[in-house]
Symmetry: D2
Subunit: 437 residues, 4 copies
């Protein structure tokens, strides 16, 4: 099943930090044990089919530049199957255990729904064979409900009932395919579920339709026995003006409002977090606090650019903050670190796929080790515990238990006088954090 | 009770659009009827005590410039009483019916809690006399839980139990004062309820404390028989890195999580909305969709500046969008339009207070009339209704009722074929909207 | 030469402000005289060939939606000629006198340079016939040096000499075509002249190459006798991380550094200004102060979105600020108002082209009238003159003339004592401005 | 001359990377040689008097929190002298060789100009004694032309001639003091040289006044024989809407326009760069390309906040990018790394001054070593050289020399055919950069 298109690239070896070989890992050693588990089990890296196999590296001002000699540019099933071969060759050489896909990037949209469905089934069978042969697995699947012109006004939130029905059909099939491939999860990213202008939008009716759609997906998941996780992926803007799932808090509010909270986890993406005006760490904590942190789209944005640049994650400090949250919550269960990242348009050679993933994987390998150092060191967590220790006092406990009202507290305040405060020591803590990098 | 400090300024008359008198209204005619009610009842303008009386017009790089000849700069009660006189003189001349205040801007913080409390009570008595004499009313009161150093780590979310108790004492008193003054509402703006760094913050424990604090306030409100509204005011950043009440969705999520939704409305501020990356109209609709739009802080930000510039609202189109939402929800009940806006630092003369409020009031008067034109014209609402009309069909209704699942919808989609789509006509609608300005 | 593809659309009439006909102007009356000239001569509207004829309305997450029944999607010359017919039909019906184009949107890039050149010449001949037949004119032409993969690393700033040569060839031809069509100007927008990463960029060598390239263009312009204006168009980011021509000041600095200032004017675009963190008015004034304001790309961005949304200009206040600068500098000479704006992706019907342009044209017609009101009213300019009147004193004049040094001024300052300051009256002035809208 | 207020803090020792002592350097070893020079000579750290001694840690929503037991809060000269003692004690213990100050933070503004001048002279004498005793030096001085109300409309750009004269007086004295103290430079930061609204601003006349002001300063510098550098410090917004010196390119444009380029270098601040929408590295390169990179204000902003947060520089990657530019230009001559950074408001203890500076100094010590590794490794610079190697060919050299025009290049392009392009390899280069951290 292999084309051997990457014949000049070896299986990427681990060579350690002193290596100057750009096609080697300096930090990611899949089976090395950190914090009680092999790195590969902590990190659960996934490659994104869309960026790896289907992204031509175009941008709004220029056409694609990516060299993909294995791809004849056609919508044929043969071409689709060949891409799958190349993808699994890539996974094998880069040493990534998981992958993620949209229905429409693994198989073509054809002229009839029947033909499109059949094409997807044939490719999914092929993917399944690759999975069996390689031991690699599906982290999550999803349906592309944003690229086709029919979704111009939304999919589940379209003003057209027929479009809603098309979206339902597509999700039905994509869920079944994900189930068939043993996917650990299924993602909803509502790229068109939002608005461009409120002048022509009934926001609440659209949100109710979205909720209905998700309830249908939950029911279908149960009816087919799929026990993977369902994820919502927040994103604040782009492609439109405002997506309803704009950030983690907006997603949680939506899930609570429509009784969906027990059925969905969040898939948090770094670049979406920063576009929403939050640090990635904030979004992760918001999700984790609600026990709803499921999976991560590992990438990064450019701090001076206002759109989703989807760069490979190369920031050691940010990656360490991510891994701290992951370790603190006990690690991923169904989720993992999916590289939802694309090479820059100037990096058009196939080998750049390797450079980019190596860079991202080494970054997260260092981050894992640094986060482990922080946790074992213990100074940050001790400081935190000590900082709130007043709340473990009798008075603190009574307040937390709801046993005291304003009037009683006022009497206590008057009695105790001006509180004595301790410094937050942020700069000292930043130094301790830096020392672990 | 009057100092007559604005003796050169007359009671601001309405002179109509052709007037070139800067100290006259060109559009705001308090008793003129628009859409079935006098303008003053639609708009329910309020002046903010803090900006009008207490803002020295300093900024992070320079000290205050405002000329306040009536203010001797002291923390004396006499000075506080004199300010109240000036404020009511201002309200009378500008023709604003409501006002809003923080406890600490009407009365000084003194060396003991007892003295501080007494000072507040004395000033509140004085305000009450002014209310009776003038017929002006309190739109909402609040406690300043952010300026004093003791709140450096938060008030309800402080790591210090004693600070929490101080905040409770302050809110107890401010609620009672608001009740005593017949306030239509009470606002919680959590300026310090958030974090500067997650390295030293237990976000979820802090949020739980905040929820506890708000529950106490609800209980106290009920115990004293205050039947005004309680409001949460969203703001995304500033003064710290991240406030927990960052936008309307974050507030609603919080209220739902902690069973507070039935007790709180939202007080939405334009500049806070835009800093959160949302248009004001978005935030208003999010609140209104959840039936939680209570009141509005009418100001605006500068689109190229990243902090709360609190400018007077001078943008006719934005103000019209605000008034459309207000009219569509049937108008304010407890809330109103509070000018949470300050003059630029260069506008330091007392008369600039008049110029600024006249500008804001005329802007909203025009906005009210324009919104009324839009609604009476009916083209925008007809378009909207028509756009979603498919959902009123039998199939649409069955989907909304939850009677159909993914599999059945797939069959329908296959049968119906590719949906026919209609243009969203955004530019045409923008033209219609502009025609009403 | 006409296909009559817009047969359902009449020549757009002026019907006045009370019209409810969406396919009529409410404010733009081409021959009505404002401030001494017909509106059409003040505004010099141009339609952009690329957005009107070639924009499929795709975005980074979805394919095109625009219905273009006249376009067979081919790269044939016949298709290109047919598009030109449709374009001139559009210009005739909408009543726009000027247009702008890139070489590659009027004619296809074919497999050889010779064929591509011939195609461009044939289409240019056709455009010339249309110009003669209709009396419409070319505001400016330009070469597309950003869409083709060869320009991935820049055109004039490419690391490849051969790419530089290709760009030179393309500009040579595009300049000649512009000259042949009697274009009033020629624009350089350096969409790829910048960098994505400084790790692989020699910024200064690239800037020197860009300067050399522009000097060549100046020499060629002179050699062919083209007496139109050459324009640089600033833009801060997008498609890459940083374009060298990021804003007006960066352009002026570049032009001064490389002795190009006398040869270039600026073409300022609203959305580029705001992405650069400046208001449009700022950029216009920076250009006008240096006597280098040449032409305007009239559009607008979305204040909460961080990329070039290229919306039709619908903001009355912003458009009025633009027209104030234009009137104050005595009007356009070679330049005009080019609608570098695209319909939203949801507005995919051909008729939406009319709605969008009508909206933009009516906005600028009102803006022109409002700006004229402001200038005739005179209060704003009087205030400004009065504000700086101290500088017209003897001391002020001596300082401006460079006749005084620090030491002498110190003596004067010590003698005069603390300066007396006057309020900047910003809010009053904003009110006066609003009264003109 | 010492108060020994930091008696609990030792002279901060270097203890190496394994130390867990928060009051020790892990990376900064002043006399360790890196790249041929001791660290202290590469880094030339300076402490900012204003943040260290005078910043009360207030913010727009709350008063100061900083504990400064040595400061009695008065405007007395004794208090000012005592602060200087504490400051030099701090410099001694933290091991920083340089400092920077504004006239008004070392000495008070008193009721008459004479008294103010005398106070400044007395404190400057005291500083001089401290310099002699300690061997520490002045990196640069400056005058505070932004905090006093008289500068509300600008200093050199005020509409008031008298204010211009006051500013001239202040700069005269501050320049003389800087000269007297042997300062290596003098900075102009135009915090009020810009506008809040263009409605009341004559931008070009104000810019001309600013240019005149700077010419006066140049003349005075020469007349007193001061041979330190003069610096302009760019900043884009804040405190007003738009400062004229908004970024490096705007400064260079201004200096070129008014014949000041030979007299001024730039002082680049990280947080100002990022607020201007540029990466720090961009601004440094723009300045260095023009041979105008003089000194650096080392701090950092928060990527999600839109104002000058002035945080201590803790980002290792960013600091490494800074040090790469510094090493590549051959190191500082007159300039250095001034910590224009303040502790967070929650870090109010005196010892937090040490934690913050230790964090910043260790960050830059690592950055220096990492930048040295990058340069010695040579792969990044080799890649860069190779990338532009076509320009070293005969054709490239002829183009650079201006020997070829568009027509000749077109012929060459036609002959050579489609260029062959090489990947930009950004991700590989990012990996190599990361390996040096």
């Amino acid at each position: 099943m292999s084309n051997d298109v990457f014949q000049d690239v070896p299986v990427i070896p681990f060579e350690g930090p002193d290596s100057r070989n750009p096609l080697a890992f300096k930090h990611y050693e899949a089976d090395a044990v950190v914090a009680g588990k092999p790195m590969r089990e902590h990190l659960r890296f996934a490659a994104a089919y869309w960026h790896t196999m289907r992204n031509p590296l175009g941008d709004p001002f220029g056409v694609g530049t990516a060299k993909m000699p294995w791809d004849d540019g056609s919508d044929s099933i043969d071409n689709a199957l060949r891409r799958a071969d190349v993808f699994f060759e890539f996974l094998g050489k880069i040493g990534i255990d998981y992958y993620c896909f949209h229905d429409r990037d693994v198989a073509p949209e054809l002229s009839t729904q029947g033909a499109t469905s059949d094409a997807l089934d044939r490719v999914v069978n092929h993917l399944q064979e690759h999975q069996v042969a390689s031991g690699r697995r599906l982290l999550w699947g999803t349906a592309c409900l944003f690229a086709h012109p029919r979704y111009v006004h939304g999919a589940a939130t379209s003003c057209s009932v027929d479009v809603f029905a098309c979206a339902a059909a597509q999700v039905r099939h994509a869920l079944d395919c994900t189930h068939r491939l043993g996917g650990a999860g299924y993602v909803f990213w509502g790229g068109r579920e939002g608005y461009t202008s409120l002048l022509n939008t009934d926001m609440q009716r659209e949100r109710e339709h979205l909720a209905r759609f998700l309830h249908m997906a939950v029911e279908h998941k149960q009816s087919i026995g799929f026990d993977g996780a369902l994820y919502i992926e927040p994103k604040p803007m782009e492609p439109a003006t405002h997506q309803y799932d704009s950030d983690a808090a907006a997603c949680l509010n939506f899930l609570r409002e429509f009784d969906l909270l027990e059925h969905f986890m969040l898939n948090i993406e770094t670049n979406h977090a920063t576009l929403a005006g939050h640090g990635m760490e904030h979004e992760l904590k918001v999700a984790a606090n609600a026990d709803r942190l499921g999976s991560i789209d590992a990438n990064m944005g450019h701090p001076q650019l206002g759109w989703d640049t989807d760069q490979f994650p190369m920031d050691l400090a940010d990656a360490t903050r991510v891994m701290l949250v992951v370790l603190e919550m006990g690690g991923f269960t169904t989720g993992g670190l999916n590289f939802d990242a694309k090479r820059r348009r100037e990096s058009f050679d196939p080998v750049d796929l390797f450079h980019a993933h190596i860079g991202g994987m080494d970054t997260f390998a260092r981050a894992l080790k640094s986060a482990d150092v922080v946790l074992r060191d213990g100074r940050l967590s001790s400081f935190l515990k000590q900082r709130y220790s007043e709340w473990d006092s009798d008075l603190g406990q009574r307040i937390e238990a709801g046993e005291i009202g304003l009037v009683e507290l006022e009497a206590i305040a008057n009695q105790r006088g001006e509180p004595v405060l301790r410094s937050g020591r942020q700069e000292m803590l930043e130094g301790i954090f830096n020392d672990a990098l």
